[in-house]
Symmetry: D2
């Protein structure tokens, strides 16, 4: 039996490759499918099956790519009218060599969500693993808010049923293979464990210990952020995503070409320190590792995107196409060096240490906490106004004109995203508090809240 | 929590890297330690602990290499007087960031064998994984014959106790992380499952279902092969292995240099088909993938080894140093092409299909079955004489002079090892039955036994 | 100034990447263009120009791929009505940053052949390099027979003029950058020097020392082989080649699927020794490194090709698509192992050493020399009949039925190609003389002729 | 003939691999010799010869490493008493397969400098290439100041003789293979051409056109910088350098470990923008690509070095060991993120655009131009005081206390090196002018001088 977990950083997305006797199946493939083709080649397997545990909303699924590259058939739950692939229902079984995958219908995160129970028939009929998609994670369960407020209770009840009457009916010794790990937008409290079991979760997952009514209450009251790009993903993953560019080759653009483009989205993927020192006025700053989380809040899928970076663009490219950003047209050749030495205007963001903030806390500035609301509620710097980083554009009217804006987050990264948005919208005097709340606390300064 | 399994093909050896909060530990490292250093670098960790579940006999452990490359301390069971590292005892606990490893003394395979129970304290005190070394595998348990016949019962009883009173006391939901997978010489019936759990094994591992007396009987009667290189490994792994060559760079040797070497071991790592067509007289044939299994039966650790191959030598080099063969001096430049075109003498082995064998079964030849004894006992070609491939040199007196020797195994690989040994010892007329017993059966021919 | 030579093994094809100030040009790109995109990225350049020194006949040029992947414009000589790109004429100059390429019309190999003189204007107006395509090589000049017998004199006269009145007018210090190196089918006597100069060639290239009449005589009498795939290349390179498969992913096929295919071309890319020992009956043997030379003689561009090999298929795939074989549908999963162990029928070719041939030279067999005619004329084994390997199918009527066929070449590789063709055509008793003429001579045996 | 040029970025160092008939030679190897071993393996060659064109002073030569990894013998000029290898003299010839290298004694850069003329005897006796070490470059000649002021005239006269009576006696068509390209500290005006010829240089190299007296005058007056690490290189390359660390594995160090180290050299290899925003007080900033140029000015070879970066440390490691810095003990785990979030103190450097400088030029600050003196003399910003970046520590007494220090260079990189030194020496108020003189000019502002 071949078993490979493929982890996609940032999205905290887990996909799985299983194989036996010359055949292979991929569960929830990502859009850049090279990794699966490579596993197939190394193990002399042909990919014949692709399973989607549900219509994903946080990334573009790689099913259409795998269909094009192999003869694989795609399977997903019957509860949604997909534009491609085949439906499977409770109890359906697929055979991949010695392996068998049995479908459990496990709605709750979405209506058509399924889990897949794996048996290795060369050994026995005992379930070995279960692929639960976004129903059950290590330490948490899936979100149930995607169909809107009014559907929340129904979804939560469905999920409770799926967990307790389906997944937890499995033995303690069954290995749990969820679609996401810690850091995903699909579950707030996922723990940092790559491998776990039904038994371990039964003991340690707080959501599984709740009575039904408590569970419903928690899920109905749960507030999770929902970036606008989800809508695009939902369409792509329902209808079948377009194929990616054949070469994935980014063009090196000159400074002049940048200036000639209309409606350009300048995306600066450097870290916040570099961006603060000097940047191209009007550019959006999302550090490379933050693209999976923040690109989907701020980038449009149509207007041309140009990368500004200082290392290879390959990683950024991958992050973006996973979110459906096929409108990346190139990168600034020789990066910011070109810009500076040309004598162009520079944008800047002031950087403060927490000590500086502490020592000047009584000055007249507007302090913004851009962490998520949970963090803010747990403890914040006195006087801070809360706006979540991803939602800054919706809340600009809360930001006063003509004042120094001092922005902090957990550590200084999200702050820089916000700072770049504020600068774009005409706020000139923005300060990034380096080290953020982590530094503030470690320096021994007090919080309120 | 960082968790990476490192699989070493051929040896079917599993080592593990765990890490948390900037610290990492390796359990049962292999000798080519680059992979661990790389995981450490990718995850920004420092390797601080190395654990040996037992004094291994089938490969050179990488502990001395890791001690040299990092500041790691090495830990092993107290039941053996190691020349390096520190002893740990039942109940000892080591902390690696949020992770804790607790020692279970689990003798049986060897006296100093330990298992390590992993807890992720950031989540709870529930055991998450157990590293069992050669005590418990997926589908089998460790061999208990290494201390000799007279110790067998004691070792088996110890193992029974270790399994039932220690390891199986753990919950079903604990993930099992053994030191070997299918194909290892350390367990005969290991199943082909990379990940499994205590619960799954409790249900499906036939050795765990036996009553103590049955268990002892099976283990005492169990016959497993024991290649002579085990003795070297035992010394290396007790005293601390010498460091490998600094560069791992093999010299390209000319035909003339080969001829000038005394006591040369010519090791032809090509497949059996190539070897059969033409080879350098006197060379030993072990196909590259077979080195972990057969090099240790036939190669001396002192006399110079020269590789004859037709692809990169890197893989062969790795296989050999893992078995302590630091006496690899180079490879024949431009491989056999050099030899042929120089007009040198060629060795050859005849190749028969099973059909040819079947059609000529009444001819006057000596038929040798070189599979392991279990296979032979289950069914063989009528008239076959059994000598296990690894033990061919000990049984040469059973092989008649002056007769055509027709050799078969499972598929035609081991046969070629044997054929090369027979040729070296003066038997000229050797036939390799391509496809072996697999082909014989698939062709519908009958077996006896 | 960026300068990179990209060498394609087997085809002995040289392409060149030059760049300056953010812009890059590729001269005679191959079809798998990844290497150029990578150079562009590493040097932060955009590929803006592609130059074709002539309509190539021995491989598919990568121009259409580069047009699709970049914004590059393609330029070629005006003497042919291409289906894409733009024409350039004598004296036309293109600017790539500080670099300038000037066109010299240098017909002879083809009518529209051009050479390109490179100047680095940041240093001076002195020519630094010249890209001569198939006009001038290290040690030889281009072939002039591609337009047929009746055009040969005209082409040779054109080439003489191009060489003496154009290229050799350049200074001795100009670096020569031809489109091919040693081993190409486009020039018979190309020497094994990757870098050379006009001055070095003026002194050492025997073709440049001939008077015009001598030159014409040599070129008119020159006999070079012309594989049938040239016709396909000529069409592709005139009209614009179709784009290659998006993924380049080969399917692993089962034995059963192979048997179900009609008109299948089974291509065994293992070396001759393996092939001789056992192969699938009916398969064509071309060792991997020999694909650039022999695939084009024997493979059809329409019927499905399936690879039989024992290593990665990637190299074979690349070789084949460079020759326009887009009809590769997959490879036999687990290679020949599958076949043997299934108990299928095996094909075999006998292998002889030269000593065996010498000792049995008086036996009744038909001896075939499959080297090129030049080799045959210089010296052969007594009694040998000449058929060039590539042309074996055209000359089958010269091969007697019912006789043992003993085949030799230079070393034993080409022989195996021929042996596989003979077997396919019903000749059962075929012998490959390992080591070939090289071994024969090195063994001290005599030749005639 | 195998010919590979190995370029080492930063040092602008060229080494060469030549090979033929199973043997290979390396000319002027760098210390990280993996690249040569790889070429040898790919071409099935054994490295038998290493040539040093002279005792290098700008990097550690890889000869001792290659001696350890292979059986190669090392050869160098007879004019220096080396602690290893063998001497060669004018006219000595070495054979590597078909290739022959003939020694020309070409003193001037150093007394024992040699050039090597390559002939490919398989073609003719005509010289094909010449390896000139630091005697002749593309566009310039070697520096002659290394033996001190009083030896300068003698060295220059020697060089003139070596060039005109030895190297330029070769034909125009000989390819020139020097030891350095553009950007090396060994020649000030080397042009950006990777390949060139004797003929092209004869026409275009201004130094070759000078009469002897002019030549001597230019060379005697030539002022080149000489970083202090040269002395260490001279010792290493005369006596034989120690072998590098066996693993090249850097330890991840915690913040606490850093604080515990005495005499620590904190080396921040991030770009100037990041460094300016926030850095660890007391750290030296040399951006990664600048290490070959500036590490040797400021780093001690004994005190422990710890890297502060934000990407892989591999590149920095290589740069440093090439300069003999074997005292690199590790890197700060998780880089500056650790530092910031811990609430530690941050160092900062103010960043100005050229526009800001221009608009505030009348303010009371001290303006420092840290470019090389040639640049300063050609044109500078009014009021600038000159101190070359590499020599800043020697000239600190010229820097006033208590004033804002505004530093500029060509583009903003060297400035940051200087800024970090100034901060370390107690100057608090330092400004880096981003874009430097390039930006100043491109913005249209005037210069003086």
């Amino acid at each position: 039996m071949i078993f490979e977990m493929v982890r996609t950083e940032g999205l905290a997305h887990y996909s799985y490759f299983i194989g036996s006797e010359g055949k292979g199946a991929v569960i929830d493939p990502r859009r850049d499918i090279g990794v699966y083709l490579q596993i197939a080649e190394q193990n002399d397997l042909r990919i014949t099956h692709v399973f989607e545990t549900h219509r994903n909303e946080d990334y573009v699924i790689g099913s259409t790519e795998l269909m094009e590259a192999t003869d694989a058939e795609v399977y997903h739950g019957a509860g949604l009218d997909f534009g491609y692939g085949e439906d499977v229902k409770e109890g359906d079984r697929s055979t991949i060599g010695d392996l068998e995958l049995e479908v459990l219908e496990t709605p709750g995160h979405t209506d058509e969500s399924i889990s897949l129970v794996l048996r290795d028939k060369s050994v026995s009929n005992t379930p070995l693993m279960v692929f639960t998609g976004d129903a059950l994670f290590a330490g948490d369960v899936g979100r149930t808010d995607l169909y809107g407020l009014e559907e929340r209770e129904r979804m939560a009840a469905n999920l409770y049923h799926s967990l307790h009457d389906k997944i937890l009916k499995l033995d303690d010794g069954v290995i749990l293979c969820p679609a996401h790990g810690q850091g995903s937008v699909c579950g707030g409290e996922i723990s940092n464990q790559v491998f776990t079991t039904i038994g371990y979760q039964r003991k340690n997952n707080h959501m599984l210990k709740l009575e039904k009514q408590e569970f419903l209450k928690v899920k109905i009251e749960e507030k999770m952020y929902r970036p606008p790009y989800f809508r695009k993903m939902e369409v792509y993953n329902k209808d079948g995503a377009p194929l990616t560019d054949r070469y994935g080759h980014l063009k090196a653009l000159s400074k002049e070409e940048l200036k000639d483009m209309d409606d350009l989205q300048l995306l600066d993927v450097r870290g916040p320190l570099c961006f603060s020192s000097a940047h191209i006025p009007g550019s959006l700053n999302i550090w490379e590792g933050g693209l999976p989380h923040f690109a989907g809040w701020f980038l449009d899928h149509e207007k041309p995107i140009v990368l500004i970076g200082d290392v290879s663009n390959e990683e950024s490219y991958k992050h973006l196409i996973r979110l459906g950003y096929d409108n990346l047209v190139g990168y600034l050749s020789n990066a910011l060096h070109t810009w500076h030495t040309a004598g162009e205007k520079l944008g800047q963001v002031e950087v403060w240490s927490v000590h500086h903030l502490h020592n000047n806390i009584d000055d007249d500035f507007f302090l913004i906490d851009v962490r998520d609301i949970k963090g803010f509620n747990k403890g914040r710097i006195k006087g801070a106004h809360h706006i979540y980083a991803g939602e800054i554009k919706k809340h600009l009217e809360e930001v006063p004109d003509g004042k120094k804006l001092v922005v902090y987050c957990d550590s200084g990264y999200k702050t820089s995203v916000v700072a770049s948005i504020l600068k774009k919208h005409g706020y000139d005097d923005v300060v990034n508090v380096m080290g953020g709340m982590d530094a503030w606390k470690n320096a021994g300064y007090t919080t309120v809240g």
